[in-house]
């Protein structure tokens, strides 16, 4: 189910290159979906960045409360982090190219993440 959702999301958005379903409470990547040859350290770093951006537990690094989604953009890279609605430790980490249609992607990513998190 999770793999199918990740596959479908990446299939819908060609500018999305890597997806990782992670648990912020343990800061572990549970499932990845990518064609890229990403080393384990890179995925661990992605998960740690999700915790930094979204806030894990009571820890908020920037802002006043934990975030529902985060977008980190530089000239050559775009990373998005999305938190599940019902289970705040379930997050989706996304590595994309800067050309991604952020608005449409976030809507689809949220829907799929919520389904994955609920297990339906």
């Amino acid at each position: 189910m999770v793999i199918e959702e990740l596959d479908a999301l990446r299939g819908t958005f060609a500018n999305c290159k890597t997806l990782a379903f992670a648990d912020l409470s343990t800061q572990m990547i549970l499932v990845t979906d990518t064609n890229a040859d990403l080393p384990r350290e890179a995925l661990d770093g992605l998960c740690a960045e999700a915790a930094l951006m979204l806030g894990a537990g009571d820890k908020v690094a920037l802002g006043e409360t934990s975030s529902e989604a985060a977008l980190v953009a530089s000239k050559d890279a775009l990373r998005l982090f999305v938190r599940a609605q019902d289970e705040p430790n379930d997050v989706l980490c996304c590595i994309c190219t800067p050309e991604l249609d952020v608005e449409t992607f976030l809507i689809d990513a949220r829907d799929r993440l919520n389904r994955m998190s609920r297990g339906n």
């Binding site: 770093g45 960045e49 690094a61 920037l62 000239k75 952020v102």
Partner: protein, 257 residues
């Protein structure tokens, strides 16, 4: 302004890469920045060949005909008070029509949160010899401040961000350049969080990524979102509605070219 200075400014504007497009329309004003009427006159001032310009002010559509950096007239607008203006060629010899045109355009767009423009092929309008009034002439007559000075890319991003922001702090080389709204929460973030946050992020990424745009949805106590944008010695920190995230990201992409 002499012709040479005007020409160099136009070339600089055309060379700028920070143009924001939404569904094929060029966004020229967000959150009242720049003022919608000034933005319209700016577009007309950039229009050399005859074109019908279709403006969309929060879904309200109106059209004008422009050529030779002049506004020939208003060709279409949904406004019952515009009957005396629509289809009429503007002229300095008809001050009442000029005043009415200003009133029509102001009603059409003055409260717009988002104003965009499409350039369409010219439609038949008025008589061939009637040239209309220059955009800069109208700016003077209508007392509209049209800023034609090219700005650095980050300053242009900051201007768009300002339009989207409920509160904003803009720093250049550590000094506050401008503020908007209730900046107390942002000031606290700057003083207590930003340095440590960026240090942690640098440690995680292990590579310098250059200019950065970091947007956190619903990170403020009132449910609003916050964005931190950094480039060299420039920093913008703002709070804004979640609906502004795509536009801010588009503006950021445009800045980077």
């Amino acid at each position: 302004m002499n012709d040479l200075a005007a020409l160099s400014q136009k070339i600089a504007a055309l060379a700028a890469t920070d143009v924001v497009f939404e569904q094929g329309a060029r966004v020229i004003s967000i959150g009242g920045e720049p003022g919608p009427l000034a933005a319209i006159l700016g577009v007309i001032d950039d229009t050399i060949l005859e074109r019908e310009l279709e403006f969309d002010a929060d879904g309200r559509i109106f059209r004008v005909v422009a050529a030779g950096r002049r506004l020939r007239g208003i060709s279409a607008v949904s406004d019952p008070q515009a009957e005396t203006v629509v289809g009429e060629t503007l002229s300095r010899e008809e001050p009442a029509v000029l005043d009415a045109a200003k009133a029509v355009l102001t009603r059409a767009c003055d409260a717009a949160n988002r104003l965009s423009v499409r350039s369409l092929p010219p439609a038949p309008f008025g008589k061939g010899g009637e040239r209309g009034v220059s955009a800069m002439g109208l700016a003077e007559l209508w007392e509209v401040d049209v800023d034609t000075t090219p700005q650095p890319p980050f300053a242009r991003f900051a201007k768009i961000a300002r339009g989207a922001a409920t509160a904003m702090i803009h720093l250049e080389e550590g000094e506050v350049l401008e503020q908007k709204g209730d900046v107390a929460p942002l000031q606290t973030m700057l003083e207590t969080q930003v340095s440590a946050f960026l240090a942690r992020q640098d440690k995680l990424r292990r590579v310098t990524e250059g200019p950065q745009f970091i947007c956190l949805d619903s990170a403020m106590a009132d449910g609003s979102s916050t964005t931190l944008a950094l480039s060299d010695d420039s920093l913008v920190l703002l709070s804004h509605g979640a609906d502004a995230i795509p536009a801010l990201h588009r503006a950021w992409k445009a800045l980077l070219g």
